[in-house]
């Protein structure tokens, strides 16, 4: 039994080490994150030719724009990204794991203006660490990552339980392990009580 549990613990770690590294990077980056008013973003503005059919609905325009931008990671196009300004003009509030893009249209000139705020690498990793199977994406890469990350999340739980079992079955008297568990639990409990 011990050998089987150790195998499963090891295999889970080997299959999901990249995801665990992603969690670690997300956490470490989160700890070092700047205050909200100091977070800069790389902003890129550009214009692309874009002509929508005259009778196209807002949704049809949005989907053509997303396709023109190659933003498959932002698909399917949800209703909440289709917006209108105070003058009733259509604009799109698009988002994918690489950052947000605001798209406005100049029908007369036949162009669309794109303002892109590309996430820094840490923000990208942070977005990915939070992506689970609850996400439904039309991009196979995004959906694949979502499923794999869901699998990794459950593997982490399995590794916690199996790791605890392996310790208690093999080295329960390990003093340093006992002290580490006591210390970590005490720190968490103290912080919980003070914060609560």
């Amino acid at each position: 039994m011990n050998a089987l549990i150790k195998k499963l613990h090891t295999y889970a770690g080997l299959l999901t080490w990249v995801n665990l590294a992603v969690y670690g990077i997300a956490g470490f980056g989160s700890a070092l994150q700047s205050a909200p008013d100091r977070r800069g973003a790389m902003v890129v503005q550009r214009q692309l030719p874009f002509a929508a059919p005259p009778n196209a609905t807002d949704r049809q325009v949005a989907e053509r724009a997303v396709a023109a931008l190659g933003m498959t990671l932002a698909t399917p196009v949800h209703d909440f990204v289709i917006k209108h300004d105070s003058g009733g003009n259509l604009w799109l509030d698009l988002w994918d794991v690489n950052g947000p893009r605001k798209v406005t249209f100049d029908e007369t000139a036949g162009i669309m203006h794109v303002e892109e705020r590309r996430n820094r690498l840490w923000n990208y990793v942070d977005n990915l660490h939070a992506t689970t199977a609850a996400l439904k994406s039309d991009d196979w890469r995004m959906q694949g990552w979502a499923w794999y990350n869901e699998f990794a999340m459950w593997c982490l739980g399995g590794m916690i339980l199996s790791g605890l079992y392996l310790w208690l079955s093999a080295r329960p008297a390990h003093r340093w392990a006992q002290a580490s568990l006591a210390a970590g639990t005490a720190v968490f409990a103290l912080m919980w009580c003070i914060t609560r």
């Binding site: 195998k7 090891t10 295999y11 770690g13 080997l14 299959l15 999901t16 080490w17 990249v18 995801n19 665990l20 590294a21 969690y23 670690g24 990077i25 997300a26 956490g27 470490f28 989160s30 700890a31 070092l32 994150q33 700047s34 205050a35 190659g70 933003m71 498959t72 990671l73 690489n98 990915l128 689970t132 609850a134 890469r141 694949g144 990552w145 794999y148 990350n149 990794a152 999340m153 982490l156 739980g157 916690i160 790791g163 605890l164 310790w167 080295r171 390990h174 340093w176 392990a177 580490s180 568990l181 210390a183 970590g184 639990t185 720190v187 968490f188 912080m191 919980w192 914060t195 609560r196």
Partner: protein, 190 residues
């Protein structure tokens, strides 16, 4: 060497255990919101504050000192006849509406349950907070993250030293590297 690294792997895991359980359980909650009830307990009360204050920060500070509301000031909204703001800490949100004319603050307290508290701790970030405890939480997040790296590195070593598991381990490691890393890189280059 093997014995030392095994001990490091074990002790790092033991120290991080409760934190990892917190992250894991809250991750499941966020990924499967319908599985859990997250309604906070809500109470409302009126608290006296010095009248005539024009700055939300001053009103918040007085609520913190005089009425022991703990947390960090957020979401200040200045209106014609009142100042609205939040005092927030993991698990508790005070929504305050202070009226300078009367010197009263209506405070709505939202207290999260156990799962809500886990959720909020999961989201703690940064070392820049005015409320010191949030910085301590932030430092712990950084520490546990380093623990994850250490667990991964020592775990890989411990596996490699087990000759019987090397062949199947290489296959699983290849899958566990190429699949997620390939997706990661491909999406970033989009």
């Amino acid at each position: 060497m093997f014995t030392k690294l095994r001990a490091i792997h074990l002790c790092t895991a033991m120290f991080s255990l409760v934190f990892l359980v917190m992250y894991g359980v809250s991750a499941v909650q966020m990924g499967h919101t319908k599985w859990f009830t997250m309604k906070p307990a809500v109470t409302t009360r009126d608290l006296p504050v010095t009248p005539g204050l024009t700055n939300a920060r001053d009103a918040a500070r007085e609520l913190m000192v005089r009425h022991h509301l703990r947390g960090e000031l957020q979401s200040v909204d200045v209106r014609a006849a009142e100042l609205r703001f939040r005092i927030v800490r993991p698990g508790t949100v005070y929504e305050a509406a202070y009226t300078p004319a009367s010197g009263m603050a209506r405070v709505k307290t939202n207290t999260a349950g156990f799962m809500g508290m886990l959720n909020r701790i999961h989201h703690v970030n940064g070392l820049w907070h005015e409320w010191m405890l949030l910085n301590v939480w932030g430092a712990l997040v950084g520490l546990i993250s380093m623990g994850l790296f250490l667990l991964g590195a020592t775990g890989l070593y411990l596996w490699f030293k087990n000759r019987r598991e090397r062949l199947i381990g290489v296959v699983l490691l290849a899958i566990g590297t190429m699949a997620p890393l390939g997706l990661l890189i491909s999406m970033r280059l989009s």
